[in-house]
Symmetry: C2
Subunit: 449 residues, 2 copies
Amino acid sequence: MEIKEELYNQIIEGMKSEDRELLDEELENIYPVDIAEIFDIFEDHEIIKFYSMVDHEYMAKVFEELDDEIQIRLVELLDLKNIIKLFDFMANDDIADILGILRIDDKKKLLNLMKKGEYKDLETLLGYAEDSAGGIMTTEYIALKASLTTEEAINKIKKIGPKTEIIESIFVIDNFKKLIGIVDIRDILIAENEIKLEDIMEQNIISVTPEVDQEEVSLIVSKYDLEIIPVVSKKNKILGIITIDDIIDVIVEENTEDMLKMGGVSHEETVNSSFFMSVKRRLPWLFINLGTAFLAAFTVSLFEDVIMQVVALAAAMPIVAGMGGNSGTQTLSIVIRGIALGEVDIKEDLKYILKEIGLGIFNGAVLGLVTGAIIFYKYGNIYLSLIIFAAMIGNLVIAGMFGFSLPLILKKLGIDPALASAIFLTTATDVFGFFIFLGLAKIFLALLI
Amino acid sequence: MEIKEELYNQIIEGMKSEDRELLDEELENIYPVDIAEIFDIFEDHEIIKFYSMVDHEYMAKVFEELDDEIQIRLVELLDLKNIIKLFDFMANDDIADILGILRIDDKKKLLNLMKKGEYKDLETLLGYAEDSAGGIMTTEYIALKASLTTEEAINKIKKIGPKTEIIESIFVIDNFKKLIGIVDIRDILIAENEIKLEDIMEQNIISVTPEVDQEEVSLIVSKYDLEIIPVVSKKNKILGIITIDDIIDVIVEENTEDMLKMGGVSHEETVNSSFFMSVKRRLPWLFINLGTAFLAAFTVSLFEDVIMQVVALAAAMPIVAGMGGNSGTQTLSIVIRGIALGEVDIKEDLKYILKEIGLGIFNGAVLGLVTGAIIFYKYGNIYLSLIIFAAMIGNLVIAGMFGFSLPLILKKLGIDPALASAIFLTTATDVFGFFIFLGLAKIFLALLI
């Protein structure tokens, strides 16, 4: 926090001087992303003043890095014509991201203010789903014909280079604009001048079509250690590229989403969210939990007569239910992570399920033995110990089966496994845990009294 | 699975032909990482045969991508001199990774077989902790003097280029080898021939020292959208670079670790782990859970007399304890993720804790109201409803406080918050949940009977 406030004070001071050059000089040593972070403590007039004093290129970089709400605020504070000036310094995937969050009329007005070529590119980008390959790609890349020599290629690159996001990888196309290869700029530099691109290009290209989910794209990029991945049409025409910094954003975003969903929170909440935002994000989920808690309570209430006669059951029953939940969560975490990393192979389901059942029996027996011994020490009834031993094994087997299959079933149904698995799992382990334990107690009641 | 087996059969078929060229041709269209995946179904003699038939460069790429155990197996199967031949085609950070997992005598023998320069570089790399910036950096980069012209620079790059991992970013050093700037190869290409590097270099460099934790490095790289980050000594001499593909591996690894730890599993387990590996990874954690389950059971047993008189308490008590656990897990997930993303700011602790207490009161009151109403409908006792209402608020406040502070306290104590938070949290919400609810019931027992 201190650093943020210090930076804020420094910038406010710099603006007071009314000296553009002085401010520019200061900003030379400050990254736009750090400036973006203090925008949420800027007053409206401070934002306008900042915009008026810094050069457009720097401002554009800050603009890209702002949180969604502040981007909207900036668009409202500045004239749309000024926004267009900033867009001139931005890659069109970043422009598309911003347009995507604006009100429809602002978006339309901005699109109308653009040059025809840009307008067309952006309209195409805006047509793809936000979390698809098309939604995160940029159309600024270099594609050269295979018949060019490396010398000709370098001259072209020198001309086009400044306008594109990436020049490390050059895409090679045939006369029909189909993607047929990739050349590293390194290889062009090293090669003899008269060699043709088709002679040094890598032909074995990994590409995706625009509708592929961004999570799948990130898995491919990370598996094959790519620095860039081309997006192509079904007919193999190049449509755009996805760069690795955008892939990192995808990985971080998807991981955050998975982890928070498993914890029962919408991914849109951070520690900084407002009180009522937090209520809105958490309460609905707690209500679903309450429903399952009542299911468990209802199961217990079926056995009130048994508990009344052997009250020790009330103390011991949460152990069985709880250990089932813990054990099932272990399985669940491994499977959900395996799905996210593309490691789980549904074909091998049966083998894995048998393993989980085996683990349930083994771990259940070990834990049940210890629990039974402690219970015997406290209550002196060997039958109570035997019942908790059996119930522990039963519930851990159920935990393993549910923990393994729930995420896979939910995934097949098109439901996010990270979101809903935990709740179904603990419902199962609570209800079955209480039912098996209290049910056995009811059957062998005579031995317990 | 099918794809893996198909590939396996294809390669086995290719090796039977004894035709090296044919096999090479086939491999041209197959990525080394895909070949690496079938190595675990290869028999020993098949591995040896594969090595003898493919060219060293391809084999080196496969070697890099193998799992640790199979890398060790390969080193044992092949003569150490052959391993050295493969090392010739590998970056030295990858070599260091492999040496790091070998038996000490194999490691020493391999180091002794190396050229002096390589040996020195590797010894330095091996000196850094595996999960530090030094442990993931490579020493293969291009550093040029600031006084060079772009033309001279390009000629140097053409010479050194093929031997280094990255040539997109050129590091600029002064006469004392201190890092003073970075130039994009793009800017060198575009610039006039006689311009000096010092005139076009970016001076505002983000770097790390070798002992910085890899997770922190990944946060910096992802915040500033870097494609490469230099590792420098305290005196600002360049020691190495970390490339973005290694950063992606770090992010994926750290996320997997966090998610599995939160689920109570060691990060070393995957769906493919063997039965006894799984037992070894999970059982110790389940025993810790068992300890906390007994704590909860002990709390309940303190109130056996109360439960005996009002058996409805036994059915209702898991609701209070369970909802506390759910609510606390929500807070916990947000804070742990916030810590991992570097977003949580300890200075603001108090503000956040007050918010969590507020959320506990608000959500607790809403959930308590609904729960109380349902309990009244079932048991017809308004005092029981009031007690559950009060206990729900109390336990959700405790859940919020623990959920927020536990990860921060553990972090300050140097304990991984993802690992231990959940267990402490549910212990707290179970024990306090039962205690508050049953305690209140004991105090107002006369009203409940």
